[in-house]
Symmetry: C2
């Protein structure tokens, strides 16, 4: 489309191309060189790193795009950040970041000098140095991209509620094959042109992955255009390999895109028009390893998968390869780009923006700089009446919905609630009275009857856990706050994203200039124990087993037993930074154990003895009945009551655990109890029954070093499920009141002999409950309606 | 498009509509009724289930499609199966399956009688009964759909290498928002019209999810058409709500689709034309809850999210609702569909296919019926020379590539190899000499130089772990064999799919008429310990922590320490059924410890003492050095050697574990050692150092009940990583030779006092190694090249 338009005059064109040459030279240098960075001397084997590492393939396209966006930033005074989706793209980003000075400002040993350049080269993809992805150490990065697929959802998360921000996001065509990326294109149905910023995707048709062509580069132009239009975008194609023409076309494509974005925003903002725009995007089809060696050893390298990583192998050992590498490096004419001291020549340096206009120094990419603490209502006002024996059941999550509603109201521009089509199902529907669901796709009249849709909603619902998690991460990393609720079983969909975000936070904490960001708050609900007709597929409490693998500096796990505890925990989590807070709490109606003050104290301690449910009165107990999780708590209480009824003299200590990491030694996690504290609670020699929400082994994993571990007997989900009533499911997995009481009789010295008839009675009641469930499809009323009565 | 064509005469139209009414009646009956199935009596509260459960919303569209495909099966004698993607769609599939007789044949209590119908109704979504997804208990199902997103990839897996099969797959528009589904549309670039069957997707624009409209139903017709064409399909739209017109249009759309499929296949097969066809697909836009109540309590229900689940609530308690339910049920005129005994009237019954032509009785949906064991070469022929002290390193995975090559050759129609762009990277590239990578997207001349692409390849590579896993599951469940390799860190992408497949297999084993299918073989490679420039994002060995949560009847974990052990393990896995075999083995070059006969014996035992590395000579050892995984094994061996060098009299027992479940008690897993066997190996009182591949806690989890657990000290990955050399990464996480030897000196009674100087010397060597790595970017040669020399 730009064939007849020339946006840049010859001088500008030449300069931008030289700037790009400088980027490409640096990228290649990072992969290969440990000395002689300016090639002042002929290239020798000793200048080559012992093990050249890094990825050349996507670098030229990345820096090409980066510097053209720089041009737009300067021309239009844009506020922009850059997200690099393609794998191992760091050289293509590090290069322009170094050239615009940010790298040297933050890392003085990487100054714009010959030594600084040598250090940049040597430390790239080197122990203790820069990674080959856009790691937290890289200024301007909010997206590492080690695992592929999340660049686009991160970009949207960054743009939400930042009306002046432009998020330029390079999407790799390999990455584009992943599921998370494939569905993230639809994020444009959730971006409001009035209150949100703009996302400008550049789909990089680099052509090849590690060893294969990419699918999107091997379908017809027409199909690709239809696909992107079908996703709701207006694609602009920049295709070719001649740098001169490509610079002009990219400049034109960006002019068109920026103009279109400005028009869309201006129209929407002046006319209050929230109809869905067809936002522009760019398709950049350029050769993989562009400007690199055309062929090596007779095989095509440029524009081939062979350009993916190190294009010329073993130059230190192979003189021919050394010569080819030197000739390639010299093709960029470093002496015409840098002065003798290693500084970029002034006429080139001035092409970059200045100060915080540089994408690498934009505070949005170090979101803690912008982060304002949430204005939080007093969570106590949402408390429910504790009514463990009064028959007034209450949903555990519904009061949290009220609290989140008021958090939404009090923080209109920096807080959002996320959930995959399940906010109502998870009983958080009160949020809609403060803010509706964001929706810019088509509307129908019937939506007005309870649809809760609005262009300016702050509740984000889309049936892709990947997209929601990506949006939320992008939102947090650019300085805001959020809360995601999801079905327990399907949180595994984002296991890998959780892992990667935990790793990002863990690394970020070690990067001195990164300012803490808000924690990622994840409510896991619709839990294993209340699946009813959903069945076996919806029963998986194993996410916690993954969480505990990640750094103790980052991970927190809470299992509030009732609504008031959930409020207290949520309030704590919403104030915290740099954690991933995982909260497990069921959405259904349950008994409510603690009033709000007791709940606050209990949650602050993280675990504790419930005196009202205990009979040891501070003396040595016969048994410790411990529990974590709402439904296991109820069953443990019922079991305690059964035991007290049959054995009134029995001394039972009832312990509820909210903060799971309390169980682990303090040497392993900052929340861990000291052995002394643990032993005081759990004794060193009394039997412990622990009724756990998840897979039972997790409790053993956390406690195996404790003195009394040999006496710890854990019940939890054991993969026994189908269509069950709640009590029958508990029975199948032996976390029910009867199983616990029967086990307790077995475990308490002296009770086993005299308790056989009680065990038999309990077993009969258990069987009767199962039979009732199989006959009626619901639980036996007297058991279902069990309440605490001491 | 069918406006002027009428395919069905009035009689046929009337019959098919009555058949559909029967389906809808049954679906509604399943949700509500426990008695009075034929409505012979006026509906009363006592006829209603105590807790009506199930999902009405997607059922009518599902059965509508099912019976129209039946029409095609009868007309064209098709060989077809049906995959239901929409969530909770079981009533819409169970209904036609019951009507065509399969259900009654398999479950005699669900006969086509009044009592049988009552049993069908009552047992639906009821403890012990049918689930509300298409569970393994449902005849004809290979896809449960409890978790959404995998219907389309399952369908393609089923169609591969089944040239005569038609896989009709209903894709829900909620499901279509998931990432895995969004990228699976591109599977058409991997389907060969000559050797593979056809996949006919029916995208069901049902309009709503649980509480929201769906995105695909709320974009313009033009955008949707572009999107699907962009994905490479030829969409045919069937849109409306008038049953009569919709029946004609669906009949026409299916005629067009089947004709197009036949034309494509005939053209390809007669002309050997493997150019990529634009396969037909259908978009069915119909109201959610079609034919159900229009409004309830003044709110729109039909064509709204309110039709999702139980459309009329609490009819047993609310007389108005009871009346509305009765009127809805009677609108299908059950008395005109079933005779007084409850049997479908003959003129309707004859609409269904017969015998195995019924989709519910097609043997492809009970794949074990079709499964032939693999023709397997003798794995011993790929053995490498064991050379633990001869300096001849060998990739652990490359010989497996040779074996898989010959498996491909010997089993041309029922075995495929899967990997996300990483088959070569994982050193399995020898497979290409037997079969190339399937590729029907565009080809370029340069592909001929090592591209290894072919339309008839059997190696499946696409950068979506979701799609590969889905293809493989579909392939296995329809009676074939496969092998998937993937990067360790990113296997977490398919955590949830693993969970769901494990649950499917677990349930299937309990369904008497399901015949065992081939195991899912998953090689996890490019492991945590050899990430080099990939860094922290690529370091996550936590998949195993998930695997152990699933049923011991299903899961197997192997950590072969070298190439020959990997061959032996792989041979075993390829012969097995109904398991998920997880094999962890690094791809890089390593020392080779065992010759093939020793490897076979070792792997068959699953763990064992390596006499050649031990110095206890059968007597009581001072220390047990145990290990699992290739790199931990090398470090444990080096540590053992260091200890023997410094303390020649020390008695060390060296144990290597291949089959991880050997560690767990035999009461927990069929592979578990008895306590007696375990104690014989690990003693009851000697210190054990266990060097583990993954997170160390997993070993504690498996062994906490063992007598000697208190003396077990585990080393493993502790989330300490960045850009590291292999040895330096080991040191960071304390699995290296020095850390182990230092720890051993500390743990062995009597050695601590005399060994302090050795500890100091080892510490210095360790520090020197780190310094060398940070200086040179590679490991210190003498340590890197360490070999076993006793």
């Amino acid at each position: 489309m730009s064939k007849h338009m020339v946006l840049m005059d010859e001088h500008e064109l030449k300069c931008i191309n030289r700037y790009w040459s400088a980027c490409n030279y640096l990228a290649a240098g990072m992969i290969y060189l440990q000395e002689n960075p300016l090639l002042k001397k002929p290239l020798e084997a000793c200048h080559i790193k012992q093990r050249p590492l890094g990825h050349w393939g996507s670098s030229p396209g990345l820096s090409f795009t980066y510097i053209h966006i720089n041009r737009m930033i300067k021309k239009y005074d844009l506020n922009a950040i850059f997200i690099a989706g393609p794998g191992h793209g760091a050289p293509g980003v590090l290069a322009p970041v170094y050239l615009e000075g940010t790298c040297s400002e933050i890392y003085p040993d990487k100054a714009q000098t010959e030594l600084g350049m040598r250090n940049l080269f040597k430390d790239f993809s080197f122990p203790g140095g820069f990674g080959s992805h856009c790691t937290p150490e890289l200024p301007g990065s909010i997206h590492e991209g080690g695992e592929l697929g999340y660049s686009l959802s991160h970009a949207f998360g960054a743009a939400f509620d930042h009306p002046d921000l432009l998020v330029a996001v390079m999407v790799g065509d390999g990455e584009a094959e992943t599921g998370p990326l494939a569905t993230a294109w639809h994020s444009n149905k959730f971006l409001n042109p009035i209150r949100d910023g703009a996302v400008l995707p550049v789909l990089h048709l680099n052509g090849y992955k590690i060893n294969n062509p990419t699918v999107l580069a091997r379908i017809s132009h027409q199909e690709l255009e239809e696909l992107l239009k079908g996703y709701g975008w207006t694609p602009i194609f920049v295709e070719g390999n001649d740098p001169e023409r490509m610079h002009q076309e990219m400049a034109q494509a960006l002019e068109t895109s920026i103009k279109s974005i400005k028009d869309i925003q201006q129209n929407a903002r002046t006319k209050n028009d929230t109809s869905r725009p067809r936002w522009p995007m760019i398709v950049l089809r350029s050769p993989k390893g562009w400007t690199g060696p055309k062929t090596v050893d007779g095989h095509q390298v440029e524009n081939s998968w062979r350009a993916h990583q190190v294009p010329i192998s073993k130059p230190a050992e192979n003189p021919e390869h050394l010569a080819q590498l030197e000739s390639w490096l010299r093709s960029y004419q470093p002496e015409s780009l840098f002065d003798a001291e290693g500084r970029l020549l002034p006429e080139l340096a001035e092409l970059a923006p200045r100060g915080t206009s540089r994408m690498s120094a934009n505070p949005h990419a170090n979101g803690g700089l912008l982060r304002q603490p949430l204005a939080l209502p007093d969570y106590r006002q949402y408390a429910v009446m504790a009514s463990r024996a009064e028959g007034a059941l209450h949903s555990n999550t519904q009061p949290l919905g009220c609290m989140l509603r008021d958090v939404l109201s009090a923080n209109p521009n920096n807080f959002r609630v996320f959930g995959p089509d399940e906010t109502s199902s998870n009983k958080l529907q009160d949020v809609y009275t403060a803010s509706k669901k964001t929706w810019l796709a088509d509307r129908l009249p019937e939506d007005d009857d309870g649809g809760e849709l609005a262009a300016d909603g702050k509740v984000m619902e889309y049936l892709s856990e990947h997209t929601l998690e990506g949006w939320l991460e992008g939102y947090l990393l650019t300085g805001r706050h959020g809360f995601l609720s999801t079905y327990e079983s399907f949180v595994h969909v984002i296991d890998s994203m959780f892992n990667q975000h935990a790793k990002w936070l863990d690394m970020s904490k070690k990067v001195s200039w990164r300012v803490p960001v808000s924690s990622l708050n994840l409510l896991i609900t619709s839990t294993v124990w209340r699946q009813d007709h959903n069945g076996f597929t919806h029963q998986d409490p194993g996410f916690l087993d993954l969480v505990v693998n990640k750094s103790p500096e980052i991970t927190r796990i809470y299992l509030p037993p009732d609504a008031n505890c959930l409020l207290s925990v949520a309030d704590h989590c919403l104030r915290s930074t740099d954690y991933i807070n995982v909260i497990v709490c069921d959405k259904q109606k349950h008994l409510q154990y603690l009033d709000i003050e007791s709940a606050t104290i209990h949650c602050t301690k993280g675990l504790g003895i419930w005196d009202w449910a205990s009979s040891d009165a501070g003396s040595e107990p016969d048994l410790i009945m411990a529990c974590a999780g709402d439904i296991p708590t109820k069953e443990a209480l019922a079991a305690t009551q059964l035991l007290m009824h049959h054995f009134p003299a029995l001394k039972i200590r009832f312990i509820n655990v909210v903060d799971l990491y309390k169980l682990t030694p303090d040497s392993e996690h900052p929340h861990g109890l000291s052995d002394k504290e643990f032993d005081r609670l759990f004794t060193t020699d009394k039997p412990i029954l622990f009724n756990f929400h998840g897979y039972p082994y997790l409790i053993h994993r956390l406690t195996y070093r404790r003195a009394n571990h040999a006496n710890l007997h854990v019940r939890g989900y054991r993969e026994k499920g189908s269509i069950n009533t709640p009590l029958e499911l508990a029975i199948q997995n032996k976390i029910d009141r009867f199983s616990l009481a029967i086990e307790a009789i077995y475990r308490i010295p002296g009770l086993r002999n005299i308790g056989a008839h009680v065990q038999e009675e309990l077993l009969n009641r258990q069987l009767a409950c199962c039979e009732y469930a199989y006959e009626h499809g619901v639980d036996m009323p007297e058991e279902d309606e069990w309440q605490w009565q001491k």
